[in-house]
Amino acid sequence: MVIPSVPPVLYLILSGILFTIGVIGALTRRNAIVVFMCIEMMLNAVNLTFITVSRFLQSMDGVLFAFFVMAVAAAEAAVGLAIFVMVYRSRETVNVDEINLLKW
């Protein structure tokens, strides 16, 4: 009897679960840095989907796309956290409910 290896559906479902947890966190938490972490988690779940599909279709494009997503995530982390520091400096808070004006 040969046990089948892990099917791609399980990887895709896991990635969907991680993405949904990220969505719930981004919707419910009010601390901007935790919201940012949830966005990183969602990007990571999407990367998992790319790698899974690229593995089971035996292609290299998904891997490269995940690589570019990571580069964009790194750039986003640098700029986003700089924005948080600046907002904190002028508003003394990073609560996303209180940062509701686009000028200050």
Partner: protein, 175 residues
Amino acid sequence: MVENIGTIFQWLIFLGVAFTSIIASFLVITRKNPIHSALFLVLTFLCVAVLYLLLYSQFIAIIQVVVYAGAIVMLIVFVIMLLDLEEELRSGLKLLYSKVIGIALAVLFLFGLIYSVAAKSLTGKIGTYTPEKMSANVKAVGEVLFTQYLFPFEIVSVLLVAAIVGAVILSKKRT
């Protein structure tokens, strides 16, 4: 039985890592202290890196550990320590109603996702990168990156420069 040992270990690693990553990501969104959230985020990223190894993508797994678990979370922890978030910890649950609606919609979205991936198996043109060829992963990635994807690669370098300049200008004190 002997030929199944590899597959059994694959299943064990997959299930263990999958449950660990789900629990860790739940803890990320439920902990009140942002530092705890950041550390559980590292655990989630490491679990996903193990999944990348199971999917024969060693290069992306290493990049995941270095860039995500190393650089990005390090930046996040650094900013958390720069900011005084004590006031954030005490802010209670506000807008409970909209949160419930948001969670319900997100779970509905999850069911849609699961249905859409389970209803139909993967279809598409099967490429040439078999697992045997992917065992020399860095070489394969490099070959594709520097031929077919050379232009996006250059664009990414411009993007990173723009991000560095933007971050420096944003965090500079206005005089």
